[in-house]
Amino acid sequence: MASIQDIQQDIIDEFDMFEEWMGKYEHIIDLGKSLPLIEEQFKTKDNLIKGCQSRVWLHAQHKDGKVIYTADSDAIMTKGIIALLVRAFSEQKAQDIVEADTDFINQIGLKEQLSPTRANGLVSMVKQMKLYALAFQSQN
């Protein structure tokens, strides 16, 4: 498994290929469509993230020393963004997730591409992922 840092760099490179917003958006939409869905049983109120304008569910599980995230949203663009986050953080060690830098979101120009409300949702999502990791870390 590549490190969080390497994966983030891959994502940055991937987005660098698109000069225009349209390409970036279309890429996010494609990613959204390919996101592995969360199991229906985890789409609970508890797993809903506050601060997102569309509904976002995030589920985390600790398995063999790694955190596995699954997520879903009712909006496809949001789903695409979650797909990026899941790609960067899922199946990594809790400690690595807690310590990870999340600046890649800024570097791919997503924050500026997305409306402020959406960007806030993004911040909430990252925060929630880190909170899960922190909880798993302290269990050990």
């Binding site: 304008q53 496809i76 409306s115």
Partner: protein
């Protein structure tokens, strides 16, 4: 007749590029842009008048007071209220409704009922919930049908001598429905209930005559009628305003104060505690004068033409579903396309320079009834054009292609 080019010239904010495209602003239900005269009126106050009102004997204070009170008179005429002291300045409709609902906390009793409609803005729901909670009264809901029209038979059945207040919007911000408020008020009065009409969306889109309607309370919001934010007006019938307790305590709203007892000022000052938004109040007159100069009837018929054109053009889009299809509609087209989430649509439209509102429009119960997460809402003002509509339609089609 409307000379839309001339009108557009008067709105500086309209002339800008957004994301590389000329701005198309179709979020007028949230707030309208301001003509130069309104912007000038605000500057003029701070440049030439700036003084506190109703207090000083000095020249500037007197001038500012006169300008502020002249605005009250303009609002009175605009709403056709009988008395000047029936017009209360507020900071907007949210405050106006809170002012009234808060007063009713002390009037409502256990067993009493308050009726709101299924298509209210949160600001005409939550204050009543709070009032009911603290007085043990019951909140009941007037249902609507799948077209977004209130069910008048149910309304009639809900009315009884327990009904103390009916609170409905004149025009729905989420659906555009124009409600038959005159009829509703008449029926409510037959059982002795007071009626508050939330005129936030009616202000810019229809002429209002509170005496003809026989409304007990009617509120409008400045920022939705080409005026500043943070200012609005509440009309209340004299007898009701006398009955209601003050909303906030402080300066301006008192006659005499001692530590034993305070007596309240007469209307309208009883409800206007503290230094108000003076510049806003003065500029609201400018905004209303501006509307009247164009003529509300001209605005209404021009906007109807636009909304009809937009509805016709949008209905050519495959999979579009209009939310709110009342016969009587104004200013607003709410829709969803296929199973595309409104946020996805809104984000792409934004990239194309088209500003719409997406989401539940502060009317979550409406979205629940239609089982949708929200809608895309295009809402119109007198400065919009058919070209704006074309850009919207192109944008929706583009978003649809990208998202499906």
């Amino acid at each position: 007749m409307i000379d839309v080019n001339d009108i557009r010239h008067q709105f500086p904010t309209l002339h800008q590029e957004v994301n590389g495209h000329p701005l198309v602003y179709l979020d007028n239900g949230a707030t309208t842009h301001k003509p130069q005269v309104v912007i000038d009126a605000i500057s003029h106050y701070y440049e030439k008048l700036n003084s506190n009102i109703h207090r000083g004997v000095h020249f500037l204070s007197q001038q500012a007071t006169d300008a502020y009170e002249a605005s009250r008179e303009t609002i009175r005429q605009h709403l056709n209220a009988q008395h000047l002291h029936e017009i209360i300045f507020t900071k907007g409709n949210t405050e106006a409704i809170n002012l009234v609902a808060n007063g009713f906390r002390q009037i409502l009793q256990e067993g009493d009922e308050v009726l709101v409609s299924a298509m209210e803005h949160h600001s005409n729901i939550v204050p009543w919930q709070m009032a009911c909670q603290s007085s043990s009264a019951t909140l009941k809901v007037i249902p609507m049908d799948e077209m977004g029209v209130l069910d008048m038979d149910s309304y009639k059945n809900l009315l009884s001598d327990k009904t103390k207040v009916v609170a409905v919007n004149h025009i729905s911000n989420a659906l555009g429905t124009i409600n038959p408020v005159k009829q509703m008020i008449q029926w409510a009065h037959e059982v002795g209930a007071a009626v508050l009409i939330d005129g936030a969306q009616a202000g810019p889109h229809c002429s209002i005559d509170v005496q003809d309607l026989d409304a007990d309370f009617y509120c409008i919001s400045g920022h939705k009628v080409y005026g500043p934010t943070g200012i609005g007006a509440l009309y209340g019938k004299e007898e009701w305003l006398k009955k209601l307790p003050p909303y906030q305590g402080g300066g301006e709203m008192i006659a005499t104060v001692s530590f034993d007892k305070t007596t309240y000022a007469d209307l309208p000052h009883k409800f206007e505690a503290g230094t108000p938004n003076i510049a806003g109040g003065i500029a609201l007159k400018t905004a209303i004068d501006w509307i009247n100069q164009i003529g509300l009837d001209n605005i209404v018929s021009y906007e109807k033409e636009l909304v009809d054109y937009a509805t016709e053009e949008l209905s050519k889009i495959e999979g579009i579903r209009f939310i709110g299809q009342a016969q009587e509609k104004a200013g607003v087209i709410s829709f969803i396309v296929g199973d595309i989430h409104p946020y996805d649509m809104g984000m792409i439209l934004d990239k194309l320079g088209v500003a719409v509102r997406t989401g539940h429009h502060c009317a979550q119960p409406v979205m629940d009834q239609f089982c949708i997460p929200g809608t895309v809402r295009a809402s119109f003002a007198v400065y919009n054009t058919k070209e704006d509509v074309n850009r919207l339609v192109e944008g929706v089609i583009k978003a649809q292609t990208m998202l499906s």
